[in-house]
């Protein structure tokens, strides 16, 4: 029973991953990240992703607060934030977030405030999608591990 469940979960996981890849939400880098996870660091991916969420939320807050400010002019600082965002996003393979960030940076390079605001909204939207999807992914992963963990003793 449980073993079957694990297989189903694995299929679900794969389907979700395929979907994320197809939608361009994630790219190969995520797989690279997964490959780095082994027995020595079993929670590597979730650890990194959690750091990512933490950092990103901070960055998003900063971006929003600085853009909400009426007499806002510090585009350089925003560029630094965005560079960070781009770097971390590409590290975990969040392709779409990264692309939006690139567009955002382009807008900020041109001091295009309207463009920045639009990009920020889009970014928040994308980020939200990413976060939900990754949470979903981790949930399934955890279930799978649980299921697999249950199964192994039975087999042994």
């Amino acid at each position: 029973m449980l073993g079957l469940d694990a297989d189903r979960l694995r299929a679900d996981l794969n389907r979700l991953l395929a979907f994320l890849f197809h939608q361009g939400i994630l790219d190969e880098q995520y797989l690279q990240l997964q490959q780095l996870q082994d027995e020595s660091s079993p929670n590597f991916v979730s650890e990194v992703v959690n750091i990512y969420f933490h950092e990103s939320e901070k960055l998003l807050r900063n971006l929003r607060s600085s853009l909400m400010d009426r007499e806002f002019s510090d585009y350089d600082k925003m560029g630094i934030h965005l560079n960070q965002f781009i770097g971390s996003s590409s590290s975990i393979g969040a392709k779409r977030v990264r692309n939006v960030c690139v567009a955002f940076r382009a807008a900020s390079d041109q001091y295009n405030r309207a463009g920045c605001l639009r990009a920020l909204e889009l970014l928040e939207h994308e980020y939200c999608i990413l976060k939900n999807k990754l949470h979903e992914l981790f949930q399934i992963e955890q279930q799978r591990l649980l299921a697999a963990g249950v199964r192994y003793p039975m087999l042994n």
Binding site: L33, D38, S40, V48, I51, Y52, G87, S88, S90, S91
Partner: protein
């Protein structure tokens, strides 16, 4: 957003239009002076009017001069004649005077009396045509009057026929011509003019003339000529008085000037034209008229005067001639001038008209140009609009598709699933279309830029083929690719776009082909090889001609045996290509040298199918967007017809051109050329590793026999095998293969024993004795202990029954499904050739990471990155390879950690960091190191410099791998760079560069 974008775009378009107008409008001379044109015309007309007037005047003046000359010559002529006639008459009168003096006075008694004189003068009158008559008057002084009167018997009378009063002397006429006999006995001294004449004549001794007066009798104007007659011959030097004394009488004659001149003029031509007047101008203030009417009208403007000399020095005469009529208006001059004017007027008008026309045409031209610019701008705007809009559509479409995918993942009833799937298929079709439109628009807007990266052409072709393998297999269409060996392994270009082109063409072919084959062939475009090696031909072909005849009545030497539109891919020409390659191995060094010489390589790619072909009428619009052969095409086969136009654009962007040959119901062959750059050696070796990963090298040196009746297909099979390093021989049928094996087995031993035999399904089925000979083949091989060749069946599609049959026939090993791909073939062969070989690629992979592990194992590495996530990932990646990782979150922290002496073996440095970026941090680290090195060298002279030097390898981590960045990395002292995010191969490459030497020096 869209609206605003459009607005701003519209603005930019108008600006552009204006700019173009400003720069393009060049004015010609005529255009610049268009306002002046009517004035020019007017000026021209005026100038011409003036000119023609001048011409008229000139001609008229010429006429006048000529008229004047005519007049003067006529006048002079008349005057001369008159003068001549006059002097002739005068001479004759002179002769008469001498006659009288001779015969009247010198003879005694006188020999002349009235009768004689009258008769003589009458008979000589023709000599004096101008004289109405002559008479002789004797000088009688008063004292002799009575005696004289007595002697003659009449009294002397005055002119008024009265008896003469008493005078000092008289001059009565004694002899007279009959015509003037009425003056006999008249005293000539009584007439005023006659008296003066007589006195003057006897004083001068010459002929004298009176002023004109009305003659007696005729009442014509006339003059009287008087000659003195002396009594004796006079010596020339006599005083006046003596002459008077010696005077005996006077001979006189009357000139009837009027009739005289009348006669004279009557004889001359042009008499009517001119009017002649003769004047006595002795008294210069009062001209006396001798001939002509005083107040006759005539052309008063023009007259000519001629002097007349009648032999009397005292009297002066002149002749005045003028024309009767005024000078006639000169019609020639007038018409000439007028015609000239008219012609010039016309010429002027023509020029004016031409200028006006030019102006109009130029105006039109400018207008057209403006319209053209606008149209072009509109076209660009359209493309940009399309690009924008399709981009905008794509985003929500992705959402729709994603949601549909999610929906399909949920629990749905079958109907719902069907609906959702339909929606997803439609959505996918729509997004493909949008992508195509976007591509097209991008190309039209000139936005599409091609990459130049090294890529492996062959693997791309394999990928494309694998995309379509499912479809083609279902249809039973044979799909094959062949790349000439001369095509370099790696080329520089845009792999994505190349793939797109191939996918488009092959996709089309798959769509329209129901039987036969689709064949993609790539070779060098510069392939003019007329030399064919007959030996190679026979060698390769064997008895293929017979075979072709045997296997079917209408069998073509193409891949599948179906007829193809373009003959170029049939075996006849294809074998040259293959033969070429054979030759190439012989002279590979030479060829390689030639290959290296040129920077670019032009490839000729052709995609041949045996589909329905393109109708002839549609062939010329195949490359036009949204055009399909006819509307039924899209009904039957779907598609938008934009693919080929994009393909064409892409091919042209790549510096090539595309063409096709198609025959309806036979097939189409699309061929295009494209220019790629050659890979340089250095980058070649760099990039070779990640790209050529999929072809294991474990088959190198193996031998295979391909059994295939169709040489083209055999060549394709060989191409794939050759890529795996397998040596290939051909056999036309199983029988030949079997015999060849047998021969090899017996004569040459195991050395040339093939490792595998690949048999094409067709040749296996067509050979009647297929099974039998296979068995023999098997048996023979069984004779050899160590190795039996593996039997492999090649098939496009195969039914279960056939499969069973094949297994029974001896193809126990495996069946390779077409289309062939090197990687797939490799996988199958691995499976066939057993476990020993299977392990090989896996081991290779293990080797890669274990090498990296050994390189990094135990190394202490510092990762500097401000981004926590990146830091974590980098650390994770490095830890995986056994390195001990420490992190620093800024350049400053890194500097602190790297204070000498430290124990780090390497440092990965992010470039973009706030406060202090990677470049700056590296510079400082290097500065620190060089200081330390100097100090150390100063202190420890004997210490080995090489081991003692501080130089920590610093690798840049950067997201953009532009060359410029790389250069800058090197400039500030970094040793290399790793592109972010980390990838195993990249990391390996970067690390290997310096750790390879470093451990040696360390250990």
């Amino acid at each position: 957003m869209g609206l605003k974008l459009q607005q701003s775009y519209h603005h930019s378009v108008t600006v552009k239009v204006n700019e173009q107008m400003g720069t393009k409008r060049g004015y010609t001379f005529i255009q610049a002076n268009r306002a002046w044109l009517p004035k020019f015309l007017l000026l021209w007309v005026m100038v011409m009017a003036f000119l023609s007037t001048w011409i008229y005047k000139k001609m008229d003046a010429d006429n006048k001069v000529r008229r004047k000359e005519v007049l003067s010559s006529m006048c002079d002529q008349r005057a001369r004649m008159l003068q001549d006639q006059f002097s002739v008459s005068v001479n004759h009168v002179h002769a008469l005077a001498i006659l009288v003096s001779t015969f009247h006075y010198y003879k005694d008694p006188s020999a002349i009396d009235q009768e004689t004189f009258a008769e003589y003068t009458a008979r000589t009158a023709f000599e004096r045509p101008l004289l109405s008559g002559v008479a002789y008057a004797e000088r009688v002084v008063y004292s002799e009057r009575e005696k004289f009167e007595r002697q003659h018997g009449w009294t002397i009378k005055t002119m008024k026929r009265e008896p003469s009063p008493i005078r000092d002397e008289y001059a009565p006429v004694i002899f007279s011509q009959e015509t003037v006999s009425y003056i006999e006995s008249l005293d000539m001294m009584s007439g005023e003019e006659d008296r003066e004449n007589i006195l003057r004549a006897r004083a001068t001794g010459k002929a004298v003339l009176t002023s004109p007066f009305r003659l007696l009798g005729s009442h014509h104007l006339g003059v009287v000529l008087t000659f003195p007659v002396y009594k004796s011959k006079l010596p020339p030097s006599l005083t006046e008085q003596e002459r008077i004394e010696a005077t005996a009488g006077y001979l006189g004659g009357a000139f009837d000037v009027e009739s005289l001149v009348e006669n004279l003029l009557g004889q001359l031509a042009g008499n009517q034209a001119i009017l002649v007047n003769v004047y006595d101008i002795t008294n210069s203030s009062d001209h006396l008229i001798m001939y002509g009417h005083q107040n006759q009208d005539g052309d008063l403007a023009l007259l000519h005067e001629s002097k007349l000399d009648f032999g009397d020095p005292f009297r002066k005469h002149q002749m005045i001639c003028r024309y009767h009529q005024k000078a006639p208006t000169s019609w020639t001059a007038l018409t000439t001038a007028f015609l000239f004017f008219v012609i010039c007027l016309l010429v002027g008008y023509i020029l004016y008209g031409a200028a006006i026309h030019i102006v109009k045409v130029e105006d039109d031209f400018h207008e057209m140009e403006e319209l053209k610019v606008r149209a072009e701008a509109a076209d660009v705007a359209k493309s940009q609009f399309l690009a924008t809009v399709s981009h905008e559509i794509r985003t929500p479409m992705n959402g729709i598709l994603g949601m549909l995918a999610l929906l399909l993942d949920t629990d749905l009833s079958s109907t719902q699933r069907d609906y959702a799937q339909t929606a997803q298929v439609c959505g996918k079709a729509l997004i493909t279309l949008i992508n195509e439109v976007l591509d097209r628009a991008k190309i039209e807007a000139g936005k599409l830029e091609l990459e130049t990266v090294p890529f492996d052409l062959r693997s791309i072709l394999d990928d494309v083929l694998s995309l379509f393998s499912e479809k083609s297999r279902n249809k039973g269409v044979e799909l094959a690719v062949f790349v000439s060996d001369k095509v370099p392994e790696m080329v520089m270009g845009d792999p994505g776009r190349f793939r797109q082109i191939i996918t488009n063409l092959v996709g089309n072919s798959v769509k329209f082909t129901e039987r036969g084959h689709i064949f993609v062939k790539v070779h060098l475009a510069e392939n003019p090889k007329p030399t064919e090696d007959p030996k190679a031909e026979t060698c390769l072909n064997g008895g293929s001609d017979e075979d072709a005849l045997v296997s079917g009545a209408r069998q073509f030497k193409t891949l599948s045996g179906y007829e193809a539109a373009d003959e170029r891919n049939s075996w006849d020409s294809f074998k040259h290509l293959v033969a070429d390659e054979e030759l190439r191995y012989d002279s590979s060094v030479k060829m390689k040298a030639a290959d290296e010489a040129s920077q670019s390589v032009t490839l000729m790619v052709s995609v041949e199918d045996t589909g329905i072909g393109i109708p002839l009428i549609a062939q010329d619009r195949v490359f036009m967007p949204f055009m399909q052969a006819d509307s039924s095409t899209s009904r039957n086969y779907g598609g938008t017809g934009i693919g080929l136009s994009i393909t064409k654009c892409l091919v042209e962007l790549m510096g090539g051109h595309i063409s096709f040959i198609s025959r309806p119901q036979v097939g189409s062959t699309f061929s295009f050329t494209t220019v790629f750059g050659r890979c340089k050696r250095a980058s070649f070796s760099d990039t070779k590793k990640p790209n050529a990963e999929d072809l294991p090298s474990g088959f190198r040196g193996l031998k295979a026999v391909v059994v295939d009746g169709k040489p083209v297909r055999a060549a394709v099979t060989r191409y794939h095998l050759k890529r795996l390093g397998i040596l290939v021989e051909f056999a036309n049928s199983v029988k030949i293969a079997a015999s060849a094996c047998g021969k090899n087995g017996s004569s040459c031993g195991s050395k040339t024993q093939p490792d595998m035999v690949l048999v094409e399904k067709d040749s296996w089925l067509s050979g009647e004795d297929g099974g039998l000979s296979l068995r023999t083949l098997d048996r023979q091989q069984n004779g050899h202990v160590f190795k039996s060749p593996k039997m492999i069946l090649l098939a496009t599609n195969i039914t279960n029954a056939e499969l069973e049959k094949a297994k029974a026939a001896g193809f126990a090993d495996t069946t390779i499904m077409k289309p062939l791909r090197a990687s797939m073939v490799a996988a199958c062969l691995q499976q066939v050739l057993g476990t020993g070989k299977k392990r090989q690629p896996g081991r290779g992979m293990l080797n890669g990471s274990s090498v990296l592990g050994s390189l990094l194992c135990g190394k202490k590495i510092l990762v500097v990155d401000d981004n926590m996530v990146n830091r974590r990932v980098a650390a994770g990646a490095l830890k995986k390879f056994g390195a001990a990782v420490e992190c620093a979150e800024s350049g400053k922290a890194a500097l602190k950690l790297l204070q000498l002496p430290h124990s780090f073996d390497a440092c990965f440095m992010d470039i973009q960091m706030p406060e202090m970026d990677g470049f700056e941090a590296t510079r400082r680290i290097r500065m620190m190191e060089s200081q330390a090195n100097e100090q150390m060298n100063g202190v420890t002279e004997e210490g080995s410099i090489r081991t003692g030097e501080w130089h920590i390898p610093i690798l840049a981590m950067t997201a953009d791998v532009i060359h410029a960045t790389y250069d800058e990395c090197l400039k500030c002292g970094m040793d290399g760079y790793v592109s972010k995010p980390f990838e195993e191969e990249n990391l390996y490459l970067a690390v290997a560069k310096f750790f390879k030497t470093k451990p040696i020096s360390d250990s």
